[in-house]
């Protein structure tokens, strides 16, 4: 089993821990992950408001390249996932747009046929690999983690990556519970983190992020687990504000936690990139669970 890996700009910058941990998890599971050669920006949300056709062309170029690999695309960043799927949908629905875009792609010798599925790693892990397989490959206990599973908005709508109730997805909870971590009830799991408002209307985004963190902290979570680099960045930045009045909480990628369970080291899953140290006992070998604790390394504090 092999997938085409589309990291997008985030995973090579602020979301480098997501990049590391995704690769680590797929390696542990023995599933191939080949980075798409010569990929470019997904077109992101910003360019769409400047010039739509160009934005779709930028995005579609990635799809055209990926189609040639013959493998499904995995796009860990929720924005990339959303934009690539939006491009697919629009170009399928609007033949004129497809003609325009493919005309420009043709100059580079490319054509986007809209045939390649663009998927989220969470969905691939659950549907293609399966909870049983993942649990059977677990080597280390993560039972000291009490995650609040935060899905954010773009993974559930409008192109639901996971086939469940968009108002109350539970696949991350199922995943971590299969790995022995107890998740807290986290009602705001699909609320907005503020997204790019952090740059334009900071106080609005900050309020949204504060709510998200407060929910988790007051429910006894010792980490928030995300599937999106922007969610992670927005929430983690909050750990720097508040002049020490706010409770700090590690904001992890779900792949980091899975990686630890499958035996990756804290460095291999990029734990040190977080702004707050992971303040739980280091995952121990499942067989040794119950022996002397050691503190997990990593984190900038």
């Amino acid at each position: 089993m092999t997938y085409t890996y589309y990291p997008g700009c985030s995973l090579h910058a602020t979301g480098v821990a997501y990049d590391k941990s995704t690769k680590a998890v797929f390696e542990k599971l023995g599933v191939g992950l080949q980075e798409l050669e010569d990929w470019n920006c997904c077109g992101a949300t910003s360019y769409t408001s400047v010039k739509k056709t160009v934005a779709y062309a930028i995005s579609a170029r990635n799809l055209a390249l990926a189609e040639k690999t013959g493998h499904d695309v995995i796009a860990p960043c929720s924005a990339c996932f959303y934009v690539l799927n939006k491009t697919k949908t629009r170009m399928t629905e609007q033949p004129e747009l497809r003609e325009q875009v493919n005309a420009s792609l043709a100059e580079a010798g490319l054509e986007a046929k809209m045939t390649v599925p663009v998927r989220k790693p969470l969905e691939v892990l659950i549907n293609d690999i399966g909870l049983d397989t993942i649990a059977s490959l677990q080597t280390h206990s993560i039972s000291d983690f009490r995650p609040a599973c935060y899905y954010g908005c773009q993974i559930v709508r409008p192109y639901g990556a996971i086939d469940e109730d968009p108002e109350n997805p539970v696949s991350m909870e199922r995943l971590f519970e299969a790995l022995g971590a107890e998740c807290v009830d986290y009602p705001p799991k699909v609320r907005c983190c503020g997204g790019m408002l952090i740059a334009t209307f900071e106080e609005v985004a900050t309020q949204l992020c504060e709510d998200l963190v407060d929910w988790a902290v007051e429910r006894g979570a010792n980490c928030i687990v995300t599937v999106c680099p922007l969610c992670q960045a927005n929430l983690d930045l909050l750990n720097l504000s508040g002049n020490g009045t706010r409770t700090k909480i590690p904001i992890l990628y779900f792949t980091q936690l899975i990686g630890l369970a499958l035996g990756s080291s804290p460095e291999e899953v990029g734990l040190e990139h977080g702004l707050v140290p992971v303040n739980v006992e280091a995952p121990r070998l499942v067989a040794e669970a119950g022996t002397a604790p050691a503190t997990a390394r990593g984190g900038a504090a």
């Binding site: 108002e167 109350n168 009830d185 009602p187 705001p188 407060d214 007051e218 429910r219």
Partner: protein, 1145 residues
């Protein structure tokens, strides 16, 4: 006048005020029409439907010789009757008046005046061309049956029935539930006057019950409707309620019923017993027993032992009753409680939660308890006293069961047993550590006490012959024989040196030990085989002090031995080796010294459905053993069947040596000889053999009573163990996934190190507490457990568990459908947390809470039993929502205000309402709204975004937070409450589509039944004689429902009063000369109006049923069918007129 008369057509173009004239140039249309062939008069007029307009037509007919009329106006649905009547008054046949619709499909839908005018001209030209060919038609009349059917016994149905019966007519009310009263019976107060729902409803219910001319058919559904207005034939299925009308409603049965299930009347918030009455004032007051098929455990059992029944009694601590119930069905209760392979447990619905109920061990408990606490049970006297004698050969489980059943029936039964001990395989094959000897004897003693004669040491074929038994030889005067000799001959391994000393079959080994015959056991024992006999022999050999190895040629997964026994064997130190098979017995001095074995691997699946073991070449190896027990299988011997002279027997045998019998009746080739048990099945289990004995007893009884056995079916239906919890209605609430897991009780056993030293029983049995808590795991998935407890206490003897559904055919003239609504499933509205958070409740749940007979006795309580401090009432849940239902459910605003009023009255809670728009449209509603506002309810205008549990770490009690935008102040608000009430939408019944088909009703896009006209005929439907009322037509409150019911009743009474219905002459007729008898039309007719005359070989149209739809006309390949008023000539003429060019384009 005939069609050959010259057509003199009058055309009348209506302005309809601006409705037509604004878009269509009516004068131009008139002028064009005037120039058409046959038109002698063309006029336009502002309102043709006015008296003055109609007079124009009349005058032209009377004075100007007009004999055909075209009115270019609105839809014929509106005024065709008006203009036809006008023509008729002037002496014209009404079917010579035709309407050209230039309003709905012309003036109203076009904006371009030129094009619209051209279209109107074409339409008029078509009508003119058509009407010229019209022929006078005569309508006919049919009598109206004055009896009426009301479907649905809610307030609408009750009210309509009362009104119709007031006028002296018969009414049938068919209601699906066990009581009439419908939804209203579940309400507490009614808005806006706050009358008690029961106080205003129950007098009407009682009145409906008392009237001689109202017939209530409850627990019933209409399955089919045939016929036409005035003359419907209706098929009604009245479901068995298992309690007869003799019920006095004393309620004694409820006190003894051991079953409790969630009560749908209380929205599953409380429980009720299996025998129940929906609510105290239910009408009819007859109780009902809730049964969802047979309990699966009972169905799966070969003797249909009533497992759920005794389990439920044990759960209640009624142990003596449980034992008594077991004895009703089971002749070997002590034995079955120990060694039955319990197919009931495989079928148990509890498996869908975690593990099956430990039914076998509970049976053992009940029987052991009886032995310790109860006097020796005395068999009941037989039901009859028959003179016939029956011989049973073999005292195993099959023979004993047959003897038990026949003795109970009143036959004289003699059991012949070749061994000195009774019990067959139970005595010789069953090790005592599983089933002690006294236990076997106890069961057999009871059968002896029933008067069964048991003769041991007498062997068929040795002491007497089958001939003697069947031919009434002296001393053997038997009318029938049941042969149940078992399958007691062990099958050899079929390998070299098998006759060596130290090799024994499993069954011989066990028999020798059981009967204290000489049997040597060496220190190293090999047991070959993987069935129950193999394991019994292995565990026995352990008790003889040997080291025991079981050699099995497949793997554990394929081993037929039972899980329990396997676990016990492993615990006792029996070693298991898989994928190994002996190929030769190794011998020294005629004595076994070991086995040569081969290793196997699993290959293709064989006939038994298991993978076939295949030897691996070159894997031969030697193993050392002192004793080899071959326990691969048994088969019956056939020596007993030989006649003394050595003549061939008349019985036939299969290639496995089993007796060939009819699989249903178990009758052999000799008519009065029946056979069963292992002798027929081959080696099977105790309860399977018992099932055969029971089947044989039933067949023998029939045979002896002179009844034919052709098509014999046992009273025991074939088991369907997969009819489990999922298919049963209670699966809806609670979901079995939500049922709290409770592990199955484990059987206490004697310690391994002690038990392997003796033959005492291994299992110790449950304590009373263990038994009760284990029995409480039963889900009552079939609801009634058939324990007959109610039967025993019912003074008027009204319980009848054999009751069957009754099918009735009613002849009625008209039908009113008032089947009500269901509420929106609030779990679909995920952000509101219904089903996830305990104190989020639906309006119906809150309604039941408020009701004095409801689950909380009228108190508003949270899940923890405390009163809420704040309550949020959420409007429009599933209504006015693009995701679910776009319509307004109309009742929720007022119901929510009622809830607020009652909550304020009965609690100290703060009450918040979250609404989108407050719809207080009815009489007194706005006043009610302001009254509730003044009482202190807070209203917030805004749709709720989500309901989430609050944070508990702020020192406060856990509560809910309702998040909503307050659109009046433009702020987002988070309101903390303890309880949220969701006002769920009203939706069409789940089976509205099917009901629509049955009653030929259309449905609007929202799924509710469609009225004939939304304003002018809100209770009529497109099917003449069928009316709708109440919420089946659309969401509405009680006043509107009652108004519609009374409107329907008035319509029904009007037709009854008239006494006859006009049957439109527009219908099909068959030209018999042309009809080729192909029958194409028969299957196409949607009204089943066409039959086939076999004599003349032509299709015949029933004029009363034909609706003139024309399907057959179009389909007839011979053009033999014409539609009066729609002949081919008329339609072609109309098309020609329509398509002809007109001048003013």
């Amino acid at each position: 006048m005939t069609a050959t008369d010259e057509a003199r057509i009058g055309v009348y173009v209506c302005h309809c005020g601006f409705n037509i004239a604004a878009t269509v140039d009516v004068e131009a249309v008139r002028d064009i029409a005037a120039g058409q062939p046959g038109v002698v008069m063309a006029r336009d007029y502002e309102f043709m439907c006015s008296n003055a307009g109609q007079d124009l037509i009349k005058r032209d007919i009377e004075e100007n010789g007009v004999n055909r009329v075209v009115v270019a106006a609105c839809s014929p649905l509106m005024h065709e009757p008006t203009f036809r009547a006008a023509g008729e008054e002037a002496g014209l046949n009404p079917y010579l008046v035709h309407i050209a619709n230039i309003r709905e499909q012309c003036a109203w839908v076009h904006q371009n005046r030129v094009a619209a005018t051209a279209k109107a001209e074409s339409l008029v030209n078509g009508a003119v061309a058509r009407v010229a060919l019209h022929e006078p038609l005569e309508a006919t009349y049919a009598d109206v049956n004055p009896t009426t059917l009301v479907v649905g016994g809610g307030i609408a149905g009750i009210q309509a029935a009362l009104d119709i019966s007031d006028a002296g007519n018969e009414v049938y009310v068919v209601e699906r539930q066990s009581t009439i009263g419908g939804m209203m019976a579940r309400f507490d107060k009614t808005f806006p006057t706050l009358d008690c729902a029961a106080c205003i409803l129950t007098p009407k219910m009682v009145s409906a019950d008392r009237r001689d001319n109202i017939h209530l058919v409850t627990n019933a559904e209409v399955e089919a409707v045939d016929g036409f207005v005035g003359n419907f034939t209706v098929r009604v299925r009245e479901k068995a309620r298992f309690v007869t009308v003799d019920c006095t409603s004393c309620g004694e049965c409820v006190t003894v019923c051991p079953v409790t299930v969630p009560d749908p009347f209380d929205e599953y918030m409380s429980t009720r017993t299996a025998i129940h009455k929906a609510f105290p004032q239910a009408i009819p007051s007859t109780y009902t027993i809730d049964r969802q098929g047979k309990p699966p455990c009972m169905e799966a059992c070969p003797i249909h032992q009533n497992a759920a029944g005794y389990v439920s009694l044990i759960a209640e601590g009624r142990f003596a009753e449980a034992a008594k119930l077991i004895r009703r069905q089971n002749p070997l209760p002590f034995i079955c409680g120990r060694v039955c392979y319990s197919p009931c447990e495989d079928a148990c619905s509890r498996t869908l939660v975690e593990e099956p109920v430990a039914i076998r061990s509970l049976k053992r408990f009940a029987m052991d308890w009886e032995r310790e606490h109860e006097p020796e049970p005395v068999p009941e006297a037989p039901e009859h006293d028959y003179s016939e004698k029956v011989a049973v050969v073999g005292s195993g489980p099959a023979g004993l069961t047959c003897a038990f059943d026949l003795a109970k029936e009143g036959y004289k039964v003699t059991v012949f047993e070749k061994h000195d001990r009774l019990g067959g395989m139970l005595a010789v094959g069953l090790p005592t550590y599983r089933c002690p000897r006294p236990v076997v004897d106890r069961d057999i003693d009871y059968i002896k006490r029933m008067g069964v004669d048991m003769r041991t040491g007498t062997e068929l074929g040795r002491d007497f012959t089958l001939d003697e038994l069947t031919n009434g030889a002296p001393g053997y005067e038997y009318s029938a024989v049941f042969v149940a000799v078992g399958a007691q001959e062990g099958i050899a391994l079929d390998i070299p040196n098998e006759d060596a000393e130290g090799v024994v079959t499993g069954i011989d080994y066990l028999r020798n030990l059981n009967l204290d015959l000489p049997q040597e056991t060496g220190p190293r024992v090999a047991v070959v085989g993987g069935g129950n006999t193999a394991l019994d022999a292995a565990r026995a050999a352990r008790r003889e002090g040997a080291e025991v190895t079981v050699l099995y040629r497949r793997t554990r997964a394929e081993m037929p031995a039972e899980e329990d026994e396997f676990d016990d064997a492993v615990a006792e130190g029996v070693r298991f080796e898989y994928l190994v098979a002996p190929v030769e017995v190794l011998v020294t001095d005629g004595r076994v010294r070991g086995l040569e074995c081969v290793t196997m691997e699993l290959g293709e699946t064989d006939g038994s459905g298991r993978p076939r073991p295949v030897p691996i070449e070159g894997s031969n190896h030697e193993r050392e053993f002192d004793t080899v027990i071959a326990a691969i299988s048994q088969h019956p011997d056939q020596d007993w069947s030989n006649t003394p002279a050595g003549e061939p027997t008349v019985l036939t045998f299969s290639r496995w040596g089993t007796v060939e019998v009819d699989p249903d009746s178990l009758q052999s080739t000799i008519p009065n000889v029946f056979a069963g048990g292992d002798a027929v099945l081959g080696p099977a289990t105790v309860v399977e053999a018992m099932g055969q004995g029971r089947r044989a007893a039933e067949a023998i009884d029939k045979h002896l009573r002179g009844l034919p056995l052709d098509g014999f079916t046992s009273h025991m239906p074939s088991p369907d163990p997969r009819y489990g919890f999922e298919e049963r209605p209670y699966a809806q609430s609670p979901e079995y996934a939500d049922i709290e897991k409770a592990p199955r009780a484990t059987m206490p056993k004697r310690p391994v190190d002690i038990r392997v030293t003796d033959y005492d029983e291994v299992d110790l049995g449950f304590s009373e507490e263990e038994a009760r808590s284990e029995a409480q795991r039963c889900l009552h998935c079939g609801v009634c457990v058939e324990c007959h407890a109610c039967d025993d206490v019912c003074a008027p003897k009204a319980i009848d568990l054999d009751m069957e559904d009754t099918l009735t055919t009613l002849e009625v003239g008209q039908i009113m459908v008032a089947t009500g609504f269901k509420t929106f499933d609030a779990t679909r509205m995920t952000p509101y947390g219904y089903g996830r958070y305990p104190n989020v409740v639906t309006s119906l749940e809150f309604e039941r809470m408020l009701n004095s007979t409801g689950p909380t006795g009228g108190k508003v309580l949270m899940a923890n039993g405390e009163e809420p401090r704040a309550i949020g009432i959420v409007h429009c849940v599933g209504s006015r929502d693009e995701h679910f239902n776009r319509y307004c459910s109309r009742v929720c605003c007022m119901a929510a205000l009622k809830f607020a009023h009652l909550a304020i009255e009965r609690t100290d809670a703060d009450v918040y309402q979250f609404y989108i728009d407050m719809r207080a449209f009815g009489k007194g509603y706005e006043e009610f709204y302001s009254r509730v506002l003044h009482e202190g309810s807070t209203v917030i205008r805004g749709k709720v975004a989500e309901i989430v549990p609050s944070l508990s770490s702020n020192g406060d009690e856990p509560h809910l937070i309702i998040r909503a935008e307050d659109t009046l102040i433009g702020r987002f608000r988070e309101i903390p409450v303890d309880m949220a009430v969701l006002c769920s939408a009203l939706e069409p019944q789940a089976d509205a589509e099917e009901m629509g088909r049955v009653f030929s009703l259309s449905r609007s896009p929202d799924g509710f039944f469609l009225e004939r006209h939304p304003k002018l005929d809100p209770v009529g439907t497109t099917t003449d004689g069928v009316y709708i009322a109440g919420c089946s037509q659309g969401p509405k409150d009680i006043p509107d429902t009652v108004a519609q019911a009374q409107a329907s009743a008035a319509r029904i009474l009007a037709l009854i009063g008239r006494g006859e219905v006009l049957i439109d002459p527009v219908r099909a007729t068959v030209n018999e000369a042309l009809c080729g008898g192909c029958k194409t039309c028969l299957s196409l007719c949607p009204y089943t109006a066409i039959t086939f005359d076999e004599e003349k070989e032509v299709a015949v149209v029933n004029e009363a049923l034909c609706k003139g739809c024309g399907t057959c006309v179009a389909a007839c390949p011979a053009s033999a069918i014409t539609g009066a008023g729609f002949t081919d000539d008329q339609i072609l003429a109309e098309l020609t007129g329509l398509l002809a060019p007109v001048g003013t384009r």
